[in-house]
Protein backbone atom coordinates (compact mmCIF):
# COMPACT_ATOMS: atom_id res chain seq x y z
CA UNK A 1 0.00 0.00 0.00
CA UNK A 2 1.53 3.28 -1.14
CA UNK A 3 0.21 6.75 -1.81
CA UNK A 4 -0.27 7.13 -5.56
CA UNK A 5 0.55 10.66 -6.49
CA UNK A 6 -0.93 13.93 -5.27
CA UNK A 7 -4.41 13.87 -3.80
CA UNK A 8 -4.06 10.27 -2.64
CA UNK A 9 -6.69 9.08 -0.19
CA UNK A 10 -6.54 6.41 2.49
CA UNK A 11 -9.61 5.22 4.37
CA UNK A 12 -8.81 4.08 7.90
CA UNK A 13 -11.13 1.92 9.98
CA UNK A 14 -10.35 1.61 13.68
CA UNK A 15 -11.82 -1.64 14.93
CA UNK A 16 -12.06 -3.50 18.22
CA UNK A 17 -14.06 -6.72 18.32
CA UNK A 18 -16.11 -5.87 15.23
CA UNK A 19 -16.15 -9.31 13.59
CA UNK A 20 -19.87 -8.97 12.88
CA UNK A 21 -19.57 -5.77 10.87
CA UNK A 22 -16.02 -5.21 9.67
CA UNK A 23 -16.16 -7.31 6.49
CA UNK A 24 -19.31 -5.54 5.27
CA UNK A 25 -17.78 -2.15 6.11
CA UNK A 26 -14.64 -2.92 4.08
CA UNK A 27 -16.59 -4.34 1.13
CA UNK A 28 -18.93 -1.36 1.19
CA UNK A 29 -16.00 1.07 1.09
CA UNK A 30 -14.43 -0.82 -1.80
CA UNK A 31 -17.75 -0.75 -3.61
CA UNK A 32 -18.36 2.98 -3.27
CA UNK A 33 -14.79 4.24 -3.56
CA UNK A 34 -13.00 1.60 -5.62
CA UNK A 35 -9.22 1.81 -5.94
CA UNK A 36 -8.95 3.61 -2.59
CA UNK A 37 -6.90 1.56 -0.12
CA UNK A 38 -8.60 0.63 3.14
CA UNK A 39 -6.55 0.23 6.32
CA UNK A 40 -8.19 -1.51 9.25
CA UNK A 41 -6.40 -0.81 12.52
CA UNK A 42 -7.12 -3.77 14.75
CA UNK A 43 -6.94 -2.67 18.38
CA UNK A 44 -5.94 -6.13 19.58
CA UNK A 45 -9.38 -7.66 19.10
CA UNK A 46 -10.10 -10.94 20.84
CA UNK A 47 -12.44 -12.11 18.08
CA UNK A 48 -11.85 -12.68 14.36
CA UNK A 49 -11.92 -8.99 13.35
CA UNK A 50 -8.40 -9.16 11.92
CA UNK A 51 -9.16 -12.24 9.82
CA UNK A 52 -12.51 -10.85 8.61
CA UNK A 53 -10.91 -7.54 7.60
CA UNK A 54 -8.12 -9.27 5.65
CA UNK A 55 -10.59 -11.62 3.96
CA UNK A 56 -12.65 -8.64 2.82
CA UNK A 57 -9.58 -7.17 1.12
CA UNK A 58 -8.38 -4.58 3.62
CA UNK A 59 -4.83 -3.90 4.67
CA UNK A 60 -4.55 -4.52 8.40
CA UNK A 61 -2.42 -2.80 11.00
CA UNK A 62 -2.59 -5.05 14.06
CA UNK A 63 -1.68 -3.30 17.32
CA UNK A 64 0.38 -5.31 19.81
CA UNK A 65 -1.97 -4.45 22.67
CA UNK A 66 -5.21 -2.58 23.24
CA UNK A 67 -4.63 1.19 22.98
CA UNK A 68 -8.18 2.52 22.98
CA UNK A 69 -9.85 4.49 20.19
CA UNK A 70 -7.51 7.49 20.19
CA UNK A 71 -4.31 5.43 20.15
CA UNK A 72 -5.81 3.22 17.46
CA UNK A 73 -6.79 6.11 15.18
CA UNK A 74 -3.46 7.86 15.77
CA UNK A 75 -1.62 4.71 14.65
CA UNK A 76 -3.50 4.94 11.35
CA UNK A 77 -2.66 8.62 11.00
CA UNK A 78 1.02 7.95 11.69
CA UNK A 79 1.22 5.18 9.10
CA UNK A 80 -0.70 7.25 6.52
CA UNK A 81 1.70 10.13 7.11
CA UNK A 82 4.71 7.85 6.67
CA UNK A 83 3.28 6.36 3.48
CA UNK A 84 2.72 9.85 2.07
CA UNK A 85 -1.07 9.99 1.78
CA UNK A 86 -2.55 13.46 1.32
CA UNK A 87 -5.99 12.75 2.71
CA UNK A 88 -7.25 10.31 5.29
CA UNK A 89 -10.89 9.60 6.04
CA UNK A 90 -11.83 7.69 9.14
CA UNK A 91 -14.79 5.34 8.98
CA UNK A 92 -15.90 3.47 12.10
CA UNK A 93 -15.80 -0.31 12.03
CA UNK A 94 -19.32 -0.78 13.39
CA UNK A 95 -21.09 0.02 10.13
CA UNK A 96 -22.68 3.28 11.28
CA UNK A 97 -20.98 5.42 8.65
CA UNK A 98 -22.19 5.21 5.09
CA UNK A 99 -19.23 4.94 2.66
CA UNK A 100 -21.37 6.67 0.01
CA UNK A 101 -20.57 9.90 1.89
CA UNK A 102 -16.79 9.46 1.50
CA UNK A 103 -16.58 11.25 -1.90
CA UNK A 104 -18.48 14.21 -0.42
CA UNK A 105 -16.04 14.50 2.48
CA UNK A 106 -13.04 14.17 0.16
CA UNK A 107 -14.46 16.75 -2.22
CA UNK A 108 -14.96 19.22 0.64
CA UNK A 109 -11.41 18.61 1.88
CA UNK A 110 -10.02 19.34 -1.57
CA UNK A 111 -12.17 22.32 -2.51
CA UNK A 112 -12.32 24.13 0.84
CA UNK A 113 -8.66 23.71 1.72
CA UNK A 114 -9.61 23.26 5.36
CA UNK A 115 -7.72 20.77 7.46
CA UNK A 116 -10.65 18.71 8.71
CA UNK A 117 -14.07 17.81 7.41
CA UNK A 118 -16.65 16.26 9.70
CA UNK A 119 -19.43 14.08 8.41
CA UNK A 120 -22.32 15.52 10.38
CA UNK A 121 -25.74 14.09 11.17
CA UNK A 122 -27.23 17.45 11.99
CA UNK A 123 -26.14 19.91 9.29
CA UNK A 124 -29.29 19.01 7.42
CA UNK A 125 -32.24 17.10 8.73
CA UNK A 126 -31.55 13.78 7.06
CA UNK A 127 -33.38 11.50 9.41
CA UNK A 128 -30.29 10.48 11.43
CA UNK A 129 -31.03 10.19 15.13
CA UNK A 130 -28.86 9.88 18.20
CA UNK A 131 -29.99 8.48 21.56
CA UNK A 132 -31.38 10.89 24.15
CA UNK A 133 -28.25 10.89 26.34
CA UNK A 134 -26.03 11.40 23.32
CA UNK A 135 -28.24 14.20 22.03
CA UNK A 136 -27.98 15.98 25.38
CA UNK A 137 -24.19 15.48 25.35
CA UNK A 138 -23.95 16.86 21.81
CA UNK A 139 -26.02 19.94 22.73
CA UNK A 140 -23.88 20.52 25.81
CA UNK A 141 -20.63 20.33 23.88
CA UNK A 142 -21.97 22.54 21.11
CA UNK A 143 -22.44 25.27 23.71
CA UNK A 144 -19.02 24.65 25.29
CA UNK A 145 -17.19 24.54 21.96
CA UNK A 146 -18.85 27.56 20.32
CA UNK A 147 -16.66 30.24 21.99
CA UNK A 148 -13.52 28.07 21.83
CA UNK A 149 -13.81 27.20 18.14
CA UNK A 150 -15.28 30.54 17.11
CA UNK A 151 -18.02 28.82 15.13
CA UNK A 152 -20.75 26.30 15.68
CA UNK A 153 -20.12 22.64 15.23
CA UNK A 154 -23.31 20.65 14.66
CA UNK A 155 -21.97 17.17 15.36
CA UNK A 156 -18.84 17.36 17.54
CA UNK A 157 -18.95 13.65 18.50
CA UNK A 158 -18.96 12.36 14.92
CA UNK A 159 -16.14 9.94 14.15
CA UNK A 160 -16.74 10.21 10.39
CA UNK A 161 -13.89 12.60 9.78
CA UNK A 162 -11.54 13.47 6.94
CA UNK A 163 -8.21 15.21 7.39
CA UNK A 164 -5.57 16.55 5.06
CA UNK A 165 -1.80 16.28 5.28
CA UNK A 166 -1.32 19.24 7.60
CA UNK A 167 -3.74 17.83 10.15
CA UNK A 168 -2.20 14.40 9.67
CA UNK A 169 1.21 15.73 10.70
CA UNK A 170 -0.28 17.36 13.80
CA UNK A 171 -2.33 14.33 14.80
CA UNK A 172 0.68 12.08 14.32
CA UNK A 173 2.37 14.03 17.12
CA UNK A 174 -0.58 14.92 19.32
CA UNK A 175 -3.90 13.15 19.42
CA UNK A 176 -6.30 12.65 22.33
CA UNK A 177 -6.25 9.05 23.46
CA UNK A 178 -9.72 8.56 24.92
CA UNK A 179 -12.89 9.91 23.29
CA UNK A 180 -10.80 11.85 20.75
CA UNK A 181 -13.42 13.49 18.50
CA UNK A 182 -14.16 16.65 20.49
CA UNK A 183 -10.63 17.22 21.81
CA UNK A 184 -9.22 16.78 18.30
CA UNK A 185 -11.27 19.78 17.17
CA UNK A 186 -9.67 21.90 19.88
CA UNK A 187 -6.18 20.59 19.02
CA UNK A 188 -6.70 21.74 15.42
CA UNK A 189 -8.33 25.03 16.32
CA UNK A 190 -5.47 25.95 18.65
CA UNK A 191 -3.21 25.69 15.61
CA UNK A 192 -5.50 27.95 13.62
CA UNK A 193 -6.58 25.08 11.41
CA UNK A 194 -10.08 25.12 9.99
CA UNK A 195 -12.83 22.57 9.85
CA UNK A 196 -16.03 22.22 7.86
CA UNK A 197 -19.03 19.96 8.16
CA UNK A 198 -20.83 18.09 5.41
CA UNK A 199 -24.20 16.37 5.83
CA UNK A 200 -23.92 12.63 6.26
CA UNK A 201 -26.32 9.93 7.19
CA UNK A 202 -25.53 7.62 10.08
CA UNK A 203 -26.96 4.14 10.17
CA UNK A 204 -27.75 2.03 13.21
CA UNK A 205 -24.92 -0.22 14.37
CA UNK A 206 -24.89 -3.53 12.55
CA UNK A 207 -23.18 -5.28 15.47
CA UNK A 208 -21.57 -4.68 18.85
CA UNK A 209 -22.35 -1.92 21.35
CA UNK A 210 -21.17 1.65 21.83
CA UNK A 211 -18.28 2.04 24.25
CA UNK A 212 -20.12 5.01 25.80
CA UNK A 213 -22.90 3.41 27.80
CA UNK A 214 -25.37 5.46 29.86
CA UNK A 215 -23.41 5.02 33.15
CA UNK A 216 -20.21 6.05 31.36
CA UNK A 217 -21.79 9.24 29.98
CA UNK A 218 -20.98 11.34 33.03
CA UNK A 219 -17.39 10.14 33.01
CA UNK A 220 -17.28 10.89 29.28
CA UNK A 221 -18.52 14.46 29.79
CA UNK A 222 -16.11 15.15 32.66
CA UNK A 223 -13.17 13.59 30.80
CA UNK A 224 -13.80 15.43 27.53
CA UNK A 225 -14.53 18.72 29.28
CA UNK A 226 -11.25 18.50 31.16
CA UNK A 227 -9.43 17.50 27.96
CA UNK A 228 -10.87 20.48 26.11
CA UNK A 229 -9.78 22.98 28.74
CA UNK A 230 -6.36 21.38 29.16
CA UNK A 231 -5.82 21.70 25.42
CA UNK A 232 -6.91 25.34 25.46
CA UNK A 233 -4.62 26.21 28.37
CA UNK A 234 -1.70 24.12 27.10
CA UNK A 235 -1.53 25.80 23.74
CA UNK A 236 -2.14 29.34 24.91
CA UNK A 237 0.55 28.99 27.56
CA UNK A 238 3.02 27.94 24.84
CA UNK A 239 2.01 30.91 22.71
CA UNK A 240 2.57 33.29 25.60
CA UNK A 241 6.03 31.81 26.13
CA UNK A 242 6.84 32.47 22.50
CA UNK A 243 5.39 35.97 22.76
CA UNK A 244 2.72 35.33 20.13
CA UNK A 245 -0.93 36.32 20.37
CA UNK A 246 -3.44 33.60 21.24
CA UNK A 247 -5.10 31.72 18.40
CA UNK A 248 -7.98 33.55 16.78
CA UNK A 249 -11.30 32.10 15.79
CA UNK A 250 -10.61 30.64 12.40
CA UNK A 251 -12.94 28.57 10.32
Amino acid sequence: MQARGPGSLLVIVPAFNEEGAIADVVRSIHKHVPSVPVLVIDDCSTDSTLFQARSAGAEVLPLPHHLGLGGCVQSGYKLANELGFDYVIRVDGDGQHDPRDIPRILDKLKTSGCEMVIGSRFVENNGSRAGLVRQLGIRFFRIVLRPILGKSVHDPTSGFVGVNRRALAVFGRSFPLEYPEIEALVVLQRRRFRFEEVPCKMRPRTSGRSSITAPKSLYYIAHVLLGVFVNVLKYERRLHRRGQPPAGSGG
Binding site: L61, L63, P64, S75, E82
Partner: protein, 116 residues
Protein backbone atom coordinates in the same frame (compact mmCIF):
# COMPACT_ATOMS: atom_id res chain seq x y z
CA UNK B 1 -1.45 8.82 72.64
CA UNK B 2 1.70 6.88 73.44
CA UNK B 3 0.06 3.71 72.12
CA UNK B 4 -0.87 5.48 68.86
CA UNK B 5 2.73 6.60 68.36
CA UNK B 6 3.93 3.06 69.06
CA UNK B 7 1.53 1.71 66.45
CA UNK B 8 2.87 4.28 63.99
CA UNK B 9 6.42 3.15 64.77
CA UNK B 10 5.53 -0.48 64.13
CA UNK B 11 3.72 0.43 60.88
CA UNK B 12 6.73 2.49 59.74
CA UNK B 13 9.10 -0.40 60.43
CA UNK B 14 6.79 -2.80 58.57
CA UNK B 15 6.62 -0.42 55.60
CA UNK B 16 10.41 -0.05 55.65
CA UNK B 17 10.89 -3.83 55.67
CA UNK B 18 8.27 -4.38 52.97
CA UNK B 19 9.95 -1.86 50.68
CA UNK B 20 13.43 -3.28 51.30
CA UNK B 21 12.27 -6.84 50.66
CA UNK B 22 10.46 -5.71 47.50
CA UNK B 23 13.57 -3.97 46.22
CA UNK B 24 15.68 -7.04 47.01
CA UNK B 25 13.24 -9.25 45.07
CA UNK B 26 13.17 -6.70 42.23
CA UNK B 27 9.43 -6.10 42.65
CA UNK B 28 10.13 -2.35 42.88
CA UNK B 29 12.90 -0.56 41.05
CA UNK B 30 15.33 1.26 43.34
CA UNK B 31 14.43 4.69 41.96
CA UNK B 32 10.76 4.16 42.85
CA UNK B 33 11.52 2.79 46.31
CA UNK B 34 13.34 5.94 47.47
CA UNK B 35 10.11 7.91 48.07
CA UNK B 36 8.61 5.05 50.09
CA UNK B 37 11.77 4.59 52.15
CA UNK B 38 11.98 8.29 52.88
CA UNK B 39 8.31 8.39 53.89
CA UNK B 40 8.73 5.35 56.16
CA UNK B 41 11.87 6.78 57.80
CA UNK B 42 10.18 10.18 58.30
CA UNK B 43 7.19 8.51 59.96
CA UNK B 44 9.48 6.40 62.14
CA UNK B 45 11.56 9.39 63.28
CA UNK B 46 8.55 11.58 64.00
CA UNK B 47 6.78 8.86 65.96
CA UNK B 48 9.90 8.45 68.14
CA UNK B 49 10.79 12.14 68.50
CA UNK B 50 7.91 13.42 70.57
CA UNK B 51 9.49 16.86 71.33
CA UNK B 52 9.83 17.54 67.61
CA UNK B 53 6.23 16.50 67.04
CA UNK B 54 5.06 18.69 69.95
CA UNK B 55 6.97 21.68 68.55
CA UNK B 56 5.36 21.24 65.11
CA UNK B 57 1.96 20.86 66.79
CA UNK B 58 2.49 24.10 68.73
CA UNK B 59 3.70 26.05 65.68
CA UNK B 60 0.93 24.86 63.36
CA UNK B 61 -1.80 25.17 65.97
CA UNK B 62 -3.05 21.63 65.40
CA UNK B 63 -4.81 20.45 68.59
CA UNK B 64 -3.13 17.04 68.88
CA UNK B 65 0.37 15.61 68.33
CA UNK B 66 -0.90 12.33 66.77
CA UNK B 67 -3.12 14.40 64.47
CA UNK B 68 -0.03 16.34 63.40
CA UNK B 69 1.77 13.08 62.68
CA UNK B 70 -1.08 11.76 60.57
CA UNK B 71 -1.54 15.06 58.75
CA UNK B 72 2.17 15.10 57.92
CA UNK B 73 2.08 11.44 56.83
CA UNK B 74 -1.05 12.08 54.75
CA UNK B 75 0.58 15.05 53.03
CA UNK B 76 3.73 13.04 52.25
CA UNK B 77 1.68 10.18 50.79
CA UNK B 78 -0.46 12.59 48.74
CA UNK B 79 2.71 14.05 47.20
CA UNK B 80 3.99 10.54 46.51
CA UNK B 81 0.73 9.46 44.86
CA UNK B 82 0.84 12.55 42.69
CA UNK B 83 4.45 11.83 41.75
CA UNK B 84 3.55 8.27 40.82
CA UNK B 85 0.59 9.50 38.75
CA UNK B 86 3.01 11.68 36.79
CA UNK B 87 5.35 8.70 36.30
CA UNK B 88 2.49 6.41 35.24
CA UNK B 89 1.25 9.03 32.75
CA UNK B 90 4.72 9.26 31.18
CA UNK B 91 4.99 5.49 31.05
CA UNK B 92 1.57 5.20 29.40
CA UNK B 93 2.49 7.79 26.76
CA UNK B 94 5.79 6.02 26.09
CA UNK B 95 4.06 2.66 26.01
CA UNK B 96 1.47 3.83 23.45
CA UNK B 97 4.12 5.45 21.25
CA UNK B 98 6.19 2.27 21.42
CA UNK B 99 3.24 -0.01 20.61
CA UNK B 100 2.34 2.18 17.63
CA UNK B 101 5.95 2.14 16.43
CA UNK B 102 6.16 -1.65 16.75
CA UNK B 103 2.89 -2.06 14.82
CA UNK B 104 4.02 0.29 12.04
CA UNK B 105 7.46 -1.32 11.75
CA UNK B 106 5.87 -4.77 11.62
CA UNK B 107 3.56 -3.50 8.90
CA UNK B 108 6.57 -2.24 6.89
CA UNK B 109 8.40 -5.56 7.38
CA UNK B 110 5.35 -7.52 6.17
CA UNK B 111 5.03 -5.21 3.15
CA UNK B 112 8.70 -5.72 2.24
CA UNK B 113 8.29 -9.50 2.59
CA UNK B 114 5.15 -9.47 0.46
CA UNK B 115 6.69 -7.32 -2.28
CA UNK B 116 10.17 -8.81 -2.12
Amino acid sequence: MERLLNVTTVLSILLLLLVLVSVRRAHIRVEYSVSWLMAAVAMLLLSRAKPVLDTITRITGIPDSPLTLFLLSGSVFMIMFFRFSVIISHLRDDNIALAQRVAILEYHIQSIRKNG
